[in-house]
Symmetry: C2
Subunit: 345 residues, 2 copies
């Protein structure tokens, strides 16, 4: 029978079927008895941690959450995070994995210049996975970014070798209430200045430090608990940024996407490297979640950041007319070939 291992956290946990597991067929990994109630409890706490429910809103507890639509523009994104792929649970807690799943989506929202709205979280977990720990990290990010989790779903996984499987999918809305509209990635033009919101490579360097058993401190935190730049994205949009992306896959790849979408090339003259990181980390390391911003009005951008009390954006170069020209410090910068970019160091 269908949906045997599924616990829709929209629904009331008290009435989740707890018997009949054998008859309901399907695979292994059914959440332990009582886990439905655990998830329901966690989910309800998640909802309360965020903004107070507005008039007429219903969060967890129905087939779907009922929300007031955002004003202006809405953005919608999803990210999937997999234990062992996006995070090594030998080096980080399962709560960190939950944090990272949420922050990946918050960063997507920030890269549009939007504010996080509401999240829904879908989890597929093997029998050994610590789902409650996962939700702790999700809750922490929900609180930090003022983004209530208003629904979710939980499933077991089937088959041998999947006891530790943990797949977390976050979908998130965001809002831009007033003009200017969300910042796409396709409106950068030749001559526009390129900025990043901070030095790069800390997450990649943090992973290396963790692997060396030296992950205590800011570098390890950069990997385990990366931060999204919501205020910076909002300020960039208000300052008239022409294009923006977040550094989720690495500067080389993410900037290449911006350039391709905009039909421009780029010449990078600066590479801000995070303390403790190396140039290669800054070029190819992902999940720093700094924003790359293009703008034809660099002074306005700097002024807006200052007015908002934000760290000054760092100019790294400019867009150029020839879309085939993509250079870093005079060297070609292929989208995925960072390992060959800087040469022997």
């Amino acid at each position: 029978m269908p949906r045997p291992n599924s616990a829709d956290t929209h629904g009331g946990g008290a009435d989740e079927p707890s018997g009949g597991a054998g008859r309901r067929g399907g695979g292994g990994g059914r959440p332990a008895r009582g886990e439905f109630a655990t998830i329901d409890r966690l989910a309800r706490r998640l909802a309360r941690r965020g903004r107070g429910s507005g008039t007429g809103e219903t969060w967890i507890g129905d087939d779907a959450a009922v929300l007031r639509p955002p004003a202006g523009w809405m953005v919608l994104t999803t990210d999937v995070v997999v234990a062992g792929v996006h995070g090594d649970l030998a080096l980080m807690g399962v709560d960190d994995l939950g944090w990272r799943a949420m922050v990946a989506s918050v960063s997507d929202v920030a890269a549009m210049g939007a504010r996080p709205g509401h999240a829904v979280v879908a989890v597929a977990a093997g029998g050994d996975a610590d789902v409650e720990g996962l939700y702790e990290g999700i809750a922490a990010a929900s609180e930090e970014y003022d983004c209530p989790v208003v629904g979710g779903d939980l499933s077991g996984v089937a088959g041998p070798g999947t006891a530790a499987t943990l797949v977390v999918s976050v979908a998130m809305t965001g809002e831009v209430a007033e003009a200017p509209p969300p910042v796409r990635r396709g409106e950068a033009r030749a001559g526009h200045t390129l900025f990043v919101t901070g030095p790069l490579g800390a997450s990649a360097a943090g992973l290396r430090a963790l692997r060396a058993g030296q992950g205590e401190g800011p570098l390890g935190d950069a990997y385990r608990r990366p931060r999204a730049r919501v205020a910076e994205g909002d300020a960039a949009r208000r300052a008239g940024a022409s294009a923006m992306v977040d550094v989720s896959d690495g500067l080389a790849g993410d900037l290449a996407r911006l350039a391709t979408a905009s039909g421009v090339g780029f010449e990078l003259t600066e590479l801000p490297v995070a303390a403790g990181a190396e140039q290669e980390d800054a070029v190819g390391g992902g999940e720093d979640f700094e924003l790359v911003i293009a703008t034809g009005r660099p002074d306005v951008l700097a002024d807006h950041f200052a007015a908002c009390g934000l760290r000054p954006p760092l100019a790294i170069g400019a867009c150029v007319t020839d879309p085939a020209r993509r250079t870093l410090l005079g060297h070609p910068l292929p989208a995925g070939g960072w390992e060959h970019v800087l040469g022997p160091s």
Copy 2:
């Protein structure tokens, strides 16, 4: 380094890094080279299949989709579907799994009396999983329910034994443009009549038929390609329904959730059983996706359904004051204990 096996289908496939897999660490299951481009192509086709893009909307191709917010009320839901748990790929195609993932969310939207809006799809897939086939079913449901897929994410999975792993998470918005508002599950009152939108148990019976090698025809289709009742949900809302849920986990469990949320009991006097199904299928079988509707105005409901050209809703009983009283044909009906309800047959 982070996000090694992730292909954000918001982004342009052409610039996805295709090298450096070894250096990017993480686990196995990295999508084959060229798969980024495949997914991007599929995703773009998905977006085109749905409604035409409205003024100023941007679907796939950025960090997040930019959408016009719905008028009135917005609903938001997510469902996760796992191969081997929610569908046996020996009995159904991987395209059917994609269809079911989408329809689970469409049904949640329908159960609020809302119309599907936009979907985002996150997939975690082992190296042997047929992601392109999956997207075929997602695309078919997107078209059928006029719900464009405006973004997504794709990841590999790590570890031995995970080559066939396939986890599909769909998140979906829905819209109720005009009053009455979305129908929650908590406003049923004693004396309200309970209806279902059709006979139950076809999906469970279809699974049994497929297992017996007799899955050709309507029963097998009911399992492989269940349908959501969007028009029926909308009509019920307009007719003043007091509470509504979809039958995703089985009538016993889903009706129990409605009753608990509303603080009522129920007495079911009818059990409409689908052709080819048995009573037990109709009580405990999930994913029929028929709707359970409570209303204090049963004649209005019937009139609305007739006016919309819909199959007449089937009265199955009524809500009663005592929340502890939950009966089917005079027998107690526990939320999860359908296997003991009907006795030997």
